[in-house]
């Protein structure tokens, strides 16, 4: 444990996880918004929108996140000139957020869409049969019921997102995986304790998160 009693190392450890948390937080919000929009497109009656949603999902689900993040840096920033901050780290951070968001949004979209599909068709029909409009049907009847069956999968996606944040390290952000690599490089005799501390921190963050979402999903589950 001598590795972490060194204040420099400890600070590095903390800052690594802070980056992970910040990446996760911002990307979770963006991915949720984009994902829901995409899901709305995929169930919309407009063919081009449906096609766009499907293409998005297919492209991002089939590309390694490492490449997506790569394109955010080398495509958006280096080629298209999208600079999000004067600060180097912040710029990488925001590019990472974009990459994580567009990638995760594909999974959110699928979760929401299959959530909508778990609402029995009779519910939408009954809503239309009493004269509710499309928007009302969606808003008052379908989405509230879908939201509840979508919570557990969204929980898994959030957990995966948090772990995926480590991949932003490939474009130079000193998040936990880079920090761990660094510590292991300079403390070859303590590989196992170092790994256990990092893995343990992730486990301590994410296992309860998983149980929380499971609990929430159960609590809100619509009894049929």
């Amino acid at each position: 444990m001598h590795v972490f009693t060194d204040p420099d190392n400890f600070d590095a450890y903390v800052s690594g996880f802070l980056w992970i948390l910040k990446l996760t937080g911002a990307s979770a919000v963006c991915a949720l918004v984009i994902g829901v929009l995409l899901a709305a497109m995929r169930v919309s009656p407009v063919p081009v929108l449906r096609g766009f949603g499907a293409a998005w999902v297919n492209v991002f689900r089939n590309t390694p996140l490492t490449l997506v993040i790569f394109f955010c840096y080398f495509g958006l920033f280096a080629t298209l000139g999208l600079s999000l901050s004067q600060d180097l780290d912040l710029n990488i951070y925001w590019l990472g957020v974009i990459g994580l968001s567009v990638y995760t949004a594909a999974f959110v979209c699928e979760a929401v869409r299959s959530g909508i599909n778990t609402v029995p068709t009779g519910q939408a029909e009954a809503a239309r049969a009493i004269g509710l409009s499309f928007a009302q049907t969606l808003r008052i009847v379908v989405l509230p019921q879908a939201a509840r069956s979508v919570i557990a999968p969204l929980g898994s996606i959030l957990i995966a997102l948090c772990k995926n944040a480590t991949i932003v390290g490939t474009i130079g952000l000193l998040e936990s995986s880079n920090i761990m690599k660094d510590l292991i490089n300079s403390n070859g005799d303590a590989v196992i304790p170092i790994f256990l501390v990092f893995a343990g921190t992730f486990a301590a963050l994410l296992i309860p998160t998983g149980y929380f979402f499971g609990w929430l999903a159960n609590r809100l589950a619509v009894k049929r």
Binding site: F77, T170, L174, D182
Partner: protein
């Protein structure tokens, strides 16, 4: 603790014994550094690779008996310690921290940290880096040196130098930093011909060594002998000329008086 559990001891367990007994060696080299260790398909080429071949030959191992293994900066010590490779010739700077874990033969070349900039750049040294963006590899010694000694420079890190170069070309970074010899390798690549220059004011000494197991003193001494011979019979110069020398840089002198004591002292 002491690594004397059978397979990793001195003598028969060292590279000399292995080379004699099996006529085979596993050598770790870089795969992504033009001019030094670059993998093209199953072939590796570059100065480090040539040096490795000279050493293998000196140990009595044919080229066909060499198994090349790609190493990256971060996995060189573990590879040696765990016996994944017998030797590492991979832009491997000799320093005290590393000497704790492994043994170094050499140096076969003394590099120094330098900057690669666009041909028309006015940068002349690290002191002018304040506010400029420098690109290097995550967690590498050059990156750390910039962080510590030139904190005003903005440091962009990637997992490979090859990612720095397009940014330098675009102007998104002002300089790429690492050992001059590595930079020279990139500058000499066809596609960048004439675009970049190595600034030429090194700000560190990076004696490149050949890594082997900590307790393989015999092997280390043997390698040093081989290097001495290579300096004398011209094979060292030939290795340079066939690789980094192609860009016109004359071969350096190999100062055989500086060879290590192989942990004997």
């Amino acid at each position: 603790g002491d690594s004397d559990e059978g397979n990793s001891g001195t003598g028969a367990g060292g590279i000399v014994g292995k080379a004699e007994g099996q006529k085979k060696l596993v050598i770790g080299v870089k795969a992504d550094q033009p001019g030094l260790g670059l993998q093209t398909g199953s072939q590796y080429e570059g100065f480090d690779v040539e040096i490795a071949k000279i050493i293998a030959k000196g140990l009595g191992v044919e080229e066909s008996g060499i198994e090349w293994k790609t190493t990256v900066s971060a996995n060189r010590e573990p590879f040696i310690e765990q016996g994944t490779v017998d030797l590492v010739v991979a832009t491997y700077t000799i320093n005290d921290e590393r000497k704790q874990k492994i043994n170094f033969a050499g140096p076969y070349y003394v590099a120094g940290q330098d900057l690669l900039v666009k041909s028309d750049s006015t940068l002349t040294g690290p002191d002018q880096l304040a506010g400029k963006t420098v690109c290097s590899v995550t967690g590498s010694t050059p990156a750390k040196r910039i962080q510590e000694n030139y904190p005003d420079a903005r440091l962009q890190q990637f997992d490979a130098y090859s990612k720095c170069l397009p940014l330098l070309e675009n102007g998104q970074v002002d300089a790429v930093t690492t050992d001059d010899i590595i930079l020279a390798g990139y500058a000499a690549q066809d596609q960048y011909a004439g675009k970049f220059k190595v600034v030429g004011s090194t700000f560190s000494d990076e004696p490149y060594g050949i890594g082997l197991k900590k307790d393989d003193t015999d092997g280390c001494e043997k390698v040093n002998e081989i290097l001495k011979t290579a300096a004398e019979d011209g094979s060292y110069k030939a290795a340079w000329d066939a690789t980094l020398g192609k860009s016109g840089t004359p071969a350096p002198e190999l100062d055989t008086t500086k060879l290590t004591h192989c942990g004997a002292a």
